[in-house]
C-alpha cells in the first residue's frame, strides 16, 4: 500500500514537471532555456539521492567513521567530468569560466566546510535531502543559503574590517554608487576582482601546446586526473589498505604484498559502494552534457546570458543594470538560492538591488523566471521522486539540537559560499574539472573545515554517550 502511494507520488511529481515544461514552451519558446535547467536539475537530484552523493560526507565520513565511499565517488565524478570539460573546451562548446583566487578561497572553503558538517549536508546534498523530507536540510538551505546569503551580500556590518585600500580601489572601478553600498561590494570590487584568474590551458606554460592537446594535458590531466588519482591512492593507503590486505591474505592463505594485491585493494575501495561510484561516473558525464546543452541553447538563441531573453520577452525588471541574471551555464547551487532569499526580503521592503551581487551582476528575477533556481528546484523534485520510488521518503521535522545545527551550519554555508564565489559545486567541483587550480584550494579549505566540524561533533557525541552509559 505504502509502495503504491509512493509510486503515485513519483508519477505525480514527474507529471507536474512535464506539464510545467509544456506551459513554459507554450508561453514562449525562449523558456526552453529554463526547461533545460529544470530537467538537468531533476537528473542531478535523482542521481544524488540514489548515490547518497553528498560532498559533506566525503571528508566528514572519512574523519568520523574512516569510510572513503563518498570521497571516492567524488574523485571518480571529477575524473570523467574533467575529460568531458576538456572535450567541450576543445570544440569551443564550454561555458566554464575560472574565478579569481587567493587566500580568500581557502578561508571561504574553511567556513563552508564547518557549515556543511554542522548542517548535515553540503549545498547540493542539502537540496537532495530536502527531497527525502529532511527538515534540518530545509532549515539550512532556506535560512542559511537563501536568506543568510542574501543578507550577507547586502549589509554594511563588515565595513570596519575592510582596509582603506579596498574602498579606494572599489571607488576607482566606476561602478554606479547606487550599486555599491555593502561590505561585500567593497570586498568584491576592491579586492577579489584584482586577484589572479588561472586556467591552466591558458597559462604561458601550456597555451603553446599544439591544437586541442592543451585542454586535455593541462586542464584535465594535470589539474584534475593526476591529483584525483594521487588522492585515491592516498585515501587507500591511510584508510583501507591495511584491512584489505589482511582480508586478502586470510582468503588466499598467504601473504598479500604484491603490486597486484595493491591494485586489487584500490579497485575494491572504488567498488565498495557500487551505487556511489556508479553515480559518480554518471554525474560526471551528465554535468558535462549539461554544459553542452546550455552552450547549444546560447548559440541557438544568439545570447550569452538568459537576461537577454528576459529583456526580449519584456521582463527587464528581472535583470541587473547590465541586463544579466545569474546563468552559470552548468551545475551550480548557491547563487540562485541567494537570489531567492533576496527576492523574499524585497517583499518585506528590503532593497536588494543596491549591491553588486544582485543589482550589477545577477539580477533578481521572479522565481518562476529564474533559470538557475529552477535547477535547484529540479534537484529537490528529482530526489523526491527517487526517494519515493525507493520508499525512502519520510517527512522529518527538525527537533532539538538539530534546529541549532541546521541553522548554524546553513548560515556558515551561506556565508562560506560567497567570498570565493561558489560552493562545493561551483567553487570546487566545476573549477577543478575545468582546469582552475583554485578549486583545489577551496577543496582544501572545505576538508579542513570538515575536520574541525567532526572534532566538534565527536566531542558532543562523547558527552551524550557518557550520559547514556551512566545508567548501565
Amino acid at each position: 500500500m505504502e509502495e503504491k502511494k509512493n509510486q503515485m507520488w513519483a508519477f505525480a511529481i514527474t507529471g507536474l514537471l512535464i506539464i510545467i515544461s509544456m506551459l513554459y514552451y507554450q508561453a514562449n519558446p525562449y523558456y526552453m532555456y529554463v526547461v533545460a535547467y529544470i530537467w538537468f536539475g531533476f537528473a542531478y537530484g535523482m542521481m544524488l539521492q540514489y548515490g547518497r552523493f553528498c560532498f559533506a560526507s566525503a571528508s566528514r565520513d572519512l574523519f568520523a567513521a574512516g569510510v572513503p565511499r563518498m570521497a571516492v565517488g567524488i574523485l571518480v565524478a571529477l575524473i570523467f567530468f574533467s575529460l568531458i570539460q576538456a572535450t567541450l573546451a576543445s570544440t569551443d562548446m564550454s561555458t566554464f569560466h575560472p574565478a579569481p583566487f587567493g587566500l580568500h578561497t581557502l578561508i571561504a572553503g574553511l567556513i563552508f566546510g564547518v557549515g556543511m558538517v554542522l548542517s548535515g549536508g553540503c549545498a547540493s546534498g542539502s537540496l537532495y535531502k530536502i527531497g527525502e523530507g529532511n527538515g534540518t536540510s530545509f532549515l539550512a538551505a532556506f535560512f542559511g543559503l537563501c536568506i543568510g546569503q542574501a543578507i550577507f551580500v547586502d549589509v554594511t556590518w563588515f565595513n570596519g574590517l575592510m582596509p582603506q585600500s579596498w574602498f579606494d580601489n572599489a571607488m576607482s572601478k566606476g561602478i554606479p554608487a547606487a550599486q555599491m553600498t555593502s561590505s561585500f561590494d567593497i570586498y568584491l570590487a576592491g579586492y577579489v576582482w584584482d586577484q589572479p584568474v588561472v586556467q591552466l590551458s591558458k597559462t604561458a606554460a601550456f597555451s603553446g601546446l599544439p591544437g586541442i592537446s592543451k585542454y586535455f594535458i593541462a586542464d584535465s590531466l594535470i589539474n584534475a586526473l593526476i591529483p584525483a588519482v594521487l588522492l585515491l591512492i592516498t585515501i587507500y593507503y591511510f584508510y583501507t589498505r591495511k584491512g584489505f590486505l589482511k582480508k586478502r591474505a586470510k582468503a588466499t592463505g598467504g601473504a598479500a604484498t604484491g603490486f597486484r594485491d595493491e591494485l586489487a585493494g584500490i579497485w575494491s575501495m572504488i567498488m565498495a559502494s557500487k551505487r556511489t561510484t556508479l553515480m559518480g561516473f554518471i554525474i560526471g558525464i551528465v554535468a558535462g552534457l549539461h554544459i553542452f546543452v546550455m552552450k547549444g541553447m546560447q548559440i541557438k538563441f544568439g545570447i550569452s546570458n538568459f537576461g537577454e531573453l528576459l529583456t526580449r520577452m519584456g521582463h527587464s525588471a528581472d535583470t541587473s543594470i547590465k541586463g544579466t541574471v545569474f546563468d552559470p551555464g552548468y551545475w551550480y547551487i548557491t547563487s540562485q538560492e541567494g537570489q531567492f532569499g533576496g527576492w523574499i526580503l524585497e517583499k518585506f521592503g528590503w532593497n536588494m538591488h543596491d549591491n553588486i551581487f544582485f543589482g550589477l551582476n545577477n539580477g533578481l528575477p521572479e522565481p518562476h523566471r529564474n533559470p538557475a533556481l529552477w535547477m535547484s528546484s529540479g534537484i529537490i523534485f528529482g530526489a523526491m521522486v527517487m526517494a519515493r520510488l525507493s520508499n525512502e521518503f519520510k517527512l522529518k521535522l527538525p527537533k532539538g539540537e538539530l534546529i541549532v545545527w541546521g541553522l548554524m551550519g546553513g548560515i556558515l554555508m551561506g556565508v562560506g559560499s560567497r567570498p570565493a564565489l561558489g560552493c562545493n559545486i561551483g567553487a570546487f567541483f566545476i573549477r577543478v574539472a575545468g582546469g582552475d587550480p583554485s578549486g583545489w584550494l577551496y577543496g582544501l579549505g572545505m576538508v579542513t573545515g570538515a575536520f574541525f566540524g567532526v572534532k566538534f561533533f565527536n566531542w558532543w557525541s562523547d558527552r551524550k554517550m557518557a550520559k547514556e552509559m551512566a545508567n548501565f
Binding site: 553528498c54 567513521a65 569510510v67 584491512g243 525507493s390 522529518k396 538539530l402 551524550k464
Partner: protein
Amino acid sequence: MAMKFEKNADGTYMLDVCGYVCPHPQIYCKKSIEKIQEGEILNMVFDNPSSAETIKQMLDQAGHDLMEEKKEAGKIIFKIKKG
C-alpha cells in the same frame, strides 16, 4: 529529541537515533560499537537513509558483522555483531 543507547536484559544493546540526520547516526554507531565487547550484539534503529550506506561500509572495513537489515515503517533496523 534524544538518542538512546541502552543495555537490554538479554545482554544485547540498543541504539535508537531516529530523527537524527547525517552525520549523527554513523558517529553514534561507531561510538556504540567501541563501547561493547567483541561478539556482543548491537541493534540499531535509525531513519536517515543516507547514513545506511556509510554505516555498512564502516562495518565491513572494521570486520563487524551486519547480521540482519530490515525496513519497518520508514525506519531502518540493523543487527550488528561486533567482530
